[in-house]
Amino acid sequence: MTLWVDRYRPRTLDDLHYHRGLSERLKSLAASGDFPHMLFYGPSGAGKKTRISCTLRQLFGAGAEKLKIDQRVFLTPSKRKLDVNIVQSNYHIEITPSDVGIYDRVVIQDILKEIAQTQQVDLNAKQRFKVVIINEADSLSRDAQAALRRTMEKYMANMRIILCANSTSKLIAPIKSRCLLIRVAAPDSQEMEDCLMYVAKKEKFHLPSEAAQEIIQDSNGNLRKALLVLEALKMQSPDLTGPLTIAKPDWETYCHKVADMIVQEQTPGRVMEVRAKLYELLSHCIPATVILKTIAERVVERVDETIKPDIMHWAAFYEVRMRLGSKKIFHLEAWVIKVMSIYKHFVYSFDMEDF
């Protein structure tokens, strides 16, 4: 019925196509009855959430898949009301604290306390504890993380926490040390091809190997993206033969356009044009860091070897500044000007050497 991404998502640990060893370990952990707090980390599209839900199923059985969505209202200390969507089953609860921005601490505390203070009521449940899944844990504020560390120890009897993050670098050490760290690496191209072939087989069409390779190359280890691309491709040209053009996401194309503009001309006027494009990107809710990264990668491709490190260095520099500040556009443009300046200097010195 729905998208392939969803339909062919493995439901149990046995169904998972790759990282078999990890699946085994998770299985035995679930069986042992001594289940720790866990932290799943790995790149986007590697299958962290799939593994988490599979683990849950392993722990609690099919009941963990009966979900309901609650809208809960939390009150901040300043009496502001926060609406938070919470997905839960009888055995677990799933929250995305980054939805509430800087008030995540309130949400975390309230929910954890509530869960921790009630024991598992269902006598038939396989486990005596409930599980709290915290998505996007790397965007938790420092306060919220500090609030977590005490609860993690105190309520160990009733509750386990599963954190899901892209990288562990933004989590404080006390949290990391309280969790079992599980790295979910991105699948390699063979594993991805297997998955794509499996989907094709299930959907009863033939996927030429070249097409699969192209998709894999384009999706860069992101299986979710690969599946979306595959489905889009199948919709656009049903027979999947002949030369395929894999559509890049529009924002990416647009970013490349901006990069080209930067390389072509370096004038204040061009700065204004670039600014308009950057605004357009930002208004499409594309994260500023992603914009900077994409443009920088493209610019680096197109310039001379000698100034590549400079450009990347400054991109990193301005990205940090961007995270500190609040007006993204200032930093993006500052970087653009910097790159233009570097490029110009390079071109001038080049000319000088010629003569």
Binding site: M1, T2, G325
Partner: protein
């Protein structure tokens, strides 16, 4: 103590002085003296604080008079003066020992006059209870005294101490300056009351001379009426004085009056009062500034006359009648009020708005009730209208006053009122003005309805375009204050300086006005500040004293342009700074920036402006620096906000200053107000809204199907991966043909498409384009995410109307079917024995296998399916499996929708749920006939 004793008797001698004057009016020898006292009686009004040294003044006078005869006394007098520490006295003694008609002298004598009654009251041996004769006695003895001093200088009185006390207590009782500014009577009243408790000599006054010889003064009783308003009767009473003296007096009266009107006197050395208050105009004619503004205000107030004072507006004496009349008005003729019932005075600070409101109201015969809206808004502001304003306006006058009241609301731009909150101050105020006519139609029950507004309301604001005044502006008459001409202001300032004994160059004054930009209050405060230290004003002093003054008024746009352009020559001149100082910009600009109060917007303004400048900047060096500073600014302000480190605030303004050295240019285009960022914000909001609705779709979807589509919801995934690809997935290259005759291949794609769109809750909504053509739009409009620069991505085919029409039709059909399914599912889950429920699953299968012929017969089919299967269906069978299975046979499924009649059949199916009681235990099938 001995000194006091010697001093006080002489004071007593003074007391007796006037009587001599009155009894022997023609004694030529005493003429200078008598004139002094006459003037004191007429002009006593002006003096107040100096009352303290009144006795000494008198003493000194006496000493002067009797210089030759009583040298010993002179010594004592000198001591006294030092004892009381009155500078004026000694000065007086030194300057004019002989000439009694000096004006300085007069003022002192006036004070004696005020003091007199007490003295006279305390010393006489014969007690009297008459208190109302005080003022005559005041007059009579004083004259006598001076005479007696000359005649027999030896007179002395014994009881010194009580007298001293008396005089002190009287000092306390002296009227305040403001009272003294009123006509004469007010002045005398306090002293009369002060003396009322003590003896008042009735028939005669007795005293003792130096030698201890008792003397008696006969007193002449005069019941003299003191007119409160006029000075003339007083003069006429003193006609006994020679006519040339009267002429002299008359010559003096106008000058003293002019000083009166402005509430000042040159000799005043009281430092306790701000000049601003002291020189506040109290008459309409004294106002300085734009005449036109003043007249407009007055005119508006006069328009109220027919409402407030009745039609006979000139007759002020008949006020009681008018009050009556206006209480009738509200029922008879509420429209005698001016069209705009509120006057709104607006203008920069220090232009005299409040003063004008007060003066004009007073002049027009109102009592002023002032409410400060900014202070009122601290509490729940709307209530102020109900609690304070309405009662006052309804009663028409302040408590204990016969004059009608005029409401002055100051600083109304600080009141709450923005938005549509009905309880805000401004809203309530506006509502107040409308109450009259509307309530009137309800009848004339006095107590019930709210009464109409019958008193003028003057509102005062600085910023006419404050958001809180939006409502008020429509209903108020607006008068804008403009900067008064410098000449008028300079003139007034010079006059005040002269009065205060401050030497002022006119150049300094005009500089001051220039710097203050016409703010009279600022000018006066500065002058007073300077006066506190020195006696003259020079331009340099004005400059040093006004550092920082008035810069606060700089607006956003001027501050921004000051960053990109050097100072205008004129302003340079006004500020009087040299070349070197002009180039020293950091302090000046940072202060400007700080004062403007909207640093973030300024930063945006800089950001939007600096790249538009056409500089020869080959290597973009300056731009680089500029952006560097902007970035630093942003990280500072970002940290300040997020970490609540407001200690960083003082540094913020410095971070924008570098734009001046980098980009300033004379004659450059003026920077515009930043708007791109705002537009971007709006666009972002719109996109976020779309994402939100899309997420909502996905989420409800996820909830229904227990599916794992939630993992697409994570922020970045949605924007970076899902949004672009879903757009491609839902726009396959379909040809617009009738759905019945499509090729099986296309058919498959179409079905797949419909399926996806239904499951993601994406819809196609028919709409009319601007040119009137019908179009189908996506709802939620997720195609916005592939539209950059309002161009769609090129690799996605443009969906034509016919195609979309086709898809929309299919989607609708699918939805109807699903709803029917859902209803059936619900009913079947309840009624397990219902025969429909058993073949429901079968029906679904038939739907998928697409046998249109079988569907009509389905409802009638006997329910022979296994009950267990049905139960499994109802229970926690994952629907994914349930939906997954039929999908495997996509091709045959495609036919199912051809059977339109099947759908029609389903649409007509009736199901009914009937629960008896609150338990589900009792259930039985019923026929429809039993309900209908």
């Amino acid at each position: 103590m001995a000194q006091v004793a010697t001093f006080l008797p002489t004071g007593l001698l003074d007391d007796v002085e006037p009587e001599v004057l009155s009894t022997e009016p023609h004694s030529g020898a005493e003429q200078p003296q008598s004139e002094g006292s006459v003037i004191s009686s007429t002009n006593a009004t002006t003096k107040s604080a100096n009352a303290l040294f009144a006795p000494n003044g008198l003493l000194s006078e006496m000493l002067d008079d009797d210089e030759e005869e009583e040298t010993g006394k002179r010594d004592s007098g000198g001591k006294v003066s030092s004892f009381i520490s009155n500078g004026l006295l000694s000065e007086d003694m030194d300057d004019d020992p002989v000439d009694n008609s000096q004006s300085a002298r007069q003022s002192q004598i006036r004070m004696d006059f005020v003091q007199d009654p007490l003295r006279t009251a305390s010393d006489p041996p014969t007690p009297s209870t008459e208190t109302n004769i005080v003022s005559p006695t005041i007059f009579a003895p004083t004259g006598l005294l001076s005479d007696s001093i000359d005649d027999d200088a030896d007179i002395q009185l014994p009881d010194a101490k009580p007298q001293k006390e008396q005089s002190q207590s009287q000092d306390d009782n002296l009227p305040s300056i403001s009272d003294l500014l009123q006509p004469y009577r007010k002045d005398t009243e306090p002293s009369a009351s002060a003396s009322s408790s003590s003896y008042v000599p009735f028939g005669s006054i007795s005293g003792t001379t130096h030698e201890g010889r008792p003397i008696y003064f006969r007193r002449k009783l005069k019941s003299k009426k003191i007119n409160a308003v006029e000075n003339r009767p007083r003069v006429s009473n003193l006609l006994e004085t020679p006519i040339h003296r009267l002429r002299q007096q008359l010559a003096k009266i106008p000058t003293s009056l002019s000083s009166l009107s402005l509430g000042n006197e040159s000799q005043s050395s009281s430092e306790t009062q701000l000049w601003v208050d002291r020189y506040r105009p109290s008459r309409f004619s004294d106002l300085c500034g734009d005449e036109r503004v003043h007249r407009e205000t007055m005119n508006w107030l006069k328009e109220w006359d027919s409402c407030v004072f009745g039609k006979k507006r000139n007759n002020k004496a008949k006020k009681p009648f008018r009050e009556e009349a206006d209480s009738n008005f509200e029922y008879k003729d509420p429209f005698h009020r001016p069209r705009e019932k509120i006057l709104l005075l607006s203008g920069p600070a220090g232009f005299g708005k409040t003063t004008l409101a007060h003066v004009a109201a007073k002049q027009a015969g109102y009592d002023v009730m002032e409410i400060n809206a900014r202070r009122a808004s601290d509490s729940r502001s709307g209530q102020v209208v109900d609690e304070r304003i309405r009662p006052t306006l309804e009663s028409g006058s302040a408590i204990g006053s016969k004059k009608p009241v005029c409401l002055v609301i100051d600083e109304i731009d600080g009141a709450t009122g923005a938005g549509d909150n009905a309880s805000s101050f401004v809203q309530k105020l506006v509502a107040l003005t409308f109450e009259g006519p509307r309530k009137k139609t309800r009848g004339d029950a006095k107590g019930k309805g709210k009464r109409p507004l019958l008193r003028p309301i003057i509102c005062i604001c600085n910023d006419l375009y404050a958001s809180s005044l939006t409502k008020l502006r429509q209903y108020a008459r607006i008068i804008r204050f403009t900067r008064p001409s410098d000449i008028v202001l300079t003139k007034r300032l010079r006059w005040i300086c002269e009065n205060e004994g401050l030497k002022a160059e006119s150049r300094a004054l005009s500089t001051l006005i220039g710097i203050a930009k016409g703010d009279m209050r600022g000018c006066l405060n500065t002058l007073q500040f300077i006066r506190a230290r020195k006696l003259e004003v020079t331009e340099a002093m004005v400059r040093s004293a006004t550092v920082g003054m008035k810069e606060a008024e700089s607006s956003f746009s001027t501050t921004l342009s000051s960053l990109f352009a050097p100072l205008a020559k004129k302003r340079v001149k006004e500020l009087g700074i040299g070349e070197a100082e002009e180039n020293r910009f950091v302090t000046r600009l940072s202060r400007d920036l700080e004062d403007s109060g909207s640093l973030d917007r300024l930063a945006l303004g800089c950001f939007e402006h600096y790249t538009t400048l056409r500089h020869a900047d080959a290597t973009l060096e300056r731009h680089e620096k500029g952006s560097e500073w902007l970035m630093t600014f942003d990280s500072f302000s970002g940290t300040m906000r997020s970490e609540r480190e407001y200690g960083l605030l003082p540094y913020l303004s410095y971070l924008l200053v570098p734009f001046y050295p980098l980009f300033n240019e004379r004659g450059a285009p003026k920077p515009e107000r930043p708007k791109a960022d705002w537009e971007n914000l709006m666009k972002t909001r719109a996109s976020e809204e779309i994402y939100k609705s899309m997420r909502g779709c996905l989420q409800s979807n996820a909830g229904q199907r227990f599916s794992g589509i939630r993992h697409l919801l994570a922020n970045e995934n949605l924007q970076l991966e899902f949004a672009p690809y879903i757009n491609r997935i839902i726009s396959p290259p379909l040809r617009p043909i009738n759905s019945q005759v499509t090729k099986p291949k296309d058919r498959a794609i179409l079905n797949r498409l419909v399926e996806i769109m239904v499951s993601l809750e994406l819809r196609l909504v028919q709409d009319k384009a601007e040119d009137g053509q019908l179009v189908y739009l996506l709802d939620p409009p997720i195609d916005a995410f592939i539209t950059y620069d309002s161009k769609r991505a090129t690799d996605i085919p443009v969906a034509r109307y016919a195609t979309r029409h086709l898809i929309a039709g299919e989607i609708d059909a699918q939805i109807i079917q699903q709803q029917a399914d859902a209803v059936e599912k619900a009913s079947s889950s309840k009624k397990k024995f219902d025969m429909f429920s058993r073949n429901r699953k079968q029906k679904d299968g038939e739907d998928e296998t697409g046998d249109p012929g079988s569907s009509p017969s389905r409802p009638g089919q006997p329910g022979n399916a296994k009950r267990k299967a049905a139960e499994l269906d109802i229970a926690d069978r994952p629907p994914v499996d349930f939906f997954g299975r039929p999908i495997e046979s996509t091709a045959p499924k495609s036919k199912k929708l051809k059977g339109q009649d099947a759908l029609v059949q389903k649409a007509y199916r009736v199901s009914f749920k009937y629960n008896e009681g609150n338990s589900a235990a009792v259930r039985k099938p019923l026929k429809m006939s039993s309900f209908i």
